[in-house]
């Protein structure tokens, strides 16, 4: 037995802190929540309003632009069509909207943080353990306070997804910039390039394959969160998986699960194709 006199608990302290946060800043969080909700609802509305054939054509167009391969494009469009045929089109659009917003927020946070962390070793040594925590902490632990602050539904789902999905993008942006050839950096420095010219002219373009791999990972991780997201009230494919589990309807759960996988494959192929450096394609 571990001696009682040595034990202590931070639970009360954390509880008080969260309570204070909710009472004092509840309104602010509610506002953030509302504006975020507005964005998601509108995007979702737009995606669901778009006729299915137009949506397939748009995805097909993007896939063709990214891969330049007829076969890959046909498979991507075919798989999405399949999701429609099992009656999950609407839910697919809901999940897509949630994922797009979560990815967008992750990119807006992740890339600047990655750039800063590539610039400063001190920031990096603080950030990296924090990212480890974000990725390993069970999501339910932070879901509870997030629920208290933002209420049930899509917004806490987005937050939970961003916490889980942004770290790989931050890491890979940092890595990509740090891996830019030292002599190339020295050369552009010797020609008097300022920070802006270094960042946008050389570092980001050369780190692009790595950054795209990061965005790819972020989208994949965001998709892996959809079932947990549906537990706190976000609609979409995850909901069907959840209902499948709760009602022992294995078939329904599997259908929705496969639809998530298909969405993942489609997004994965497209983002990976964009990650390949353009000038090597012309080899």
């Amino acid at each position: 037995m571990f001696p009682d006199s040595f034990t202590f608990s931070i639970a009360n302290w954390v509880n008080d802190w969260v309570d204070a946060l909710v009472t004092r800043y509840g309104d602010v969080f509610r506002q953030v929540s509302d504006s975020l909700l507005w964005a998601i609802v509108n995007l979702e509305g737009l995606l669901r309003m778009t006729p299915w054939w137009l949506m397939l054509a748009i995805v097909g167009g993007i896939a063709w632009h990214a891969t330049r391969k007829l076969f890959t494009t046909a498979v991507i469009v075919g798989l999405l069509f399949l999701v429609g045929t099992v009656g999950l089109w609407d839910k697919l659009m809901q999940t897509l909207a949630l994922m797009l917003v979560a990815t967008l927020i992750s990119v807006l946070i992740g890339i600047p943080l990655g750039i800063l962390s590539a610039r400063s070793n001190r920031l990096r040594s603080i950030l990296m353990p924090l990212l480890d925590v974000m990725q390993t902490l069970p999501s339910f632990v932070y879901l509870i306070p997030v629920l208290m602050l933002f209420g049930l539904g899509k917004v806490p789902a987005i937050f939970a997804t961003v916490i889980y999905a942004a770290p790989p993008l931050i890491r890979l942006t940092d890595l990509g910039i740090r891996q830019v050839d030292r002599e190339v950096m020295e050369a552009i420095n010797a020609f008097g390039a300022n920070r802006w010219q270094q960042l946008f002219g050389v570092q980001l373009p050369l780190a692009l394959p790595s950054i795209m791999a990061g965005i790819n990972q972020t989208t994949m991780m965001a998709l892996s969160m959809v079932v947990i997201a549906s537990m706190i009230g976000a609609r979409g494919l995850g909901e069907d998986v959840l209902v499948g589990i709760q009602t022992l309807n294995v078939g329904r759960g599997l259908e929705a699960g496969l639809a998530i996988v298909i969405l993942a494959v489609v997004i994965d192929r497209i983002t990976q194709a964009y990650g390949r450096p353009r000038h090597e394609a012309s080899k």
Binding site: E186, N189, A190, F191, P205
Partner: protein
């Protein structure tokens, strides 16, 4: 040399010490402790040790030494890619160590350019974009950049390769791009850090000839780093020999070959194949 002004670049008592306790290390060197003693006591490595020299306008000044002798470190002081621990560096009579970031940037954009051992080309840009880089960075117009870049691509015999990417070129061609980039910036001073060392012997000889031919009409001040005495004798108006960050001897190729200052320089000279000695004597 036909009496050019002798102080285009002046390096005065420059020390460069790598490590956290550079102040302690500097004091130890000034007390004439050896570099091994300094390393053992402070953990600091001496890059450049009390070095002074002056480089004249329009000359090709070769800095020679074995690897680890501090030559690459020294040349990076001249455009302040590395800052000295102590000492003074004057270019056109101005102390470049007093420049702030913006002044330094302007100095690098207009006065000094550099060619690198492993080329330092931008892999995601075409040959013409690479050559125009120095001009683009300082904000020249697109048309001017393109016109100048084309001119220098022609001068280094790369016509027809304007829209290729660096990875599509051979080593020799890549270094021509590096050279054209430095020339296109149209600066008085060009630093060349082992610029030809990564090339095979035939290409290297070709590049040396090309550099000399260009220099005939351009009269740039070129600071050329090499570890190869043949190369130094071939292209240098004057040669400085470095060992352990110290200057051992400065002189014309003739002076170095016929009156080496010490045993270290003598060893360099003796290693040379007699045939090349005869050939280059004609050129000197």
């Amino acid at each position: 040399m036909n009496s050019p002004e002798m102080n285009k670049i002046v390096v005065k008592n420059v020390f460069k010490i790598f490590g956290n306790r550079s102040a302690d290390a500097l004091r130890m060197i000034q007390q004439n402790k050896s570099k091994d003693q300094v390393l053992a006591e402070t953990g600091c490595v001496i890059g450049v040790n009390d070095l002074s020299l002056s480089i004249g306008s329009g000359e090709i000044f070769v800095i020679m030494g074995l690897s680890g002798s501090g030559k690459s470190t020294l040349v990076r002081h001249i455009n302040r890619l590395i800052d000295p621990t102590s000492g003074e560096i004057l270019v056109d009579g101005e102390n470049i160590l007093s420049y702030d970031m913006e002044a330094l940037r302007q100095f690098r954009r207009h006065k000094i350019s550099m060619v690198f051992q492993s080329f330092g080309l931008l892999p995601h840009r075409t040959v013409i974009e690479n050559v125009a880089y120095g001009l683009k960075v300082r904000g020249e117009s697109k048309a001017f950049c393109a016109e100048r870049a084309r001119h220098w691509i022609d001068s280094v015999d790369l016509k027809g390769y304007e829209n290729k990417y660096p990875h599509q070129l051979s080593g020799g061609m890549r270094q021509r791009v590096g050279l054209a980039r430095a020339l296109a910036a149209d600066t008085d001073i060009i630093l060349m850090d082992e610029a030809f060392s990564a090339l095979d012997p035939l290409i290297r000889a070709e590049m040396q000839d090309q550099l000399l031919a260009l220099q005939q009409s351009l009269h740039k001040t070129i600071v050329f780093i090499t570890h190869d005495l043949d190369e130094a004798v071939q292209i240098g108006n004057r040669i400085a020999i470095l060992k352990d960050g110290r200057l051992i001897q400065v002189g014309t190729p003739k002076e170095i070959l016929y009156s080496p200052a010490d045993e270290y320089v003598d060893r360099f000279v003796r290693r040379r194949v007699p045939a090349t000695l005869i050939n280059t004597q004609k050129g000197v």
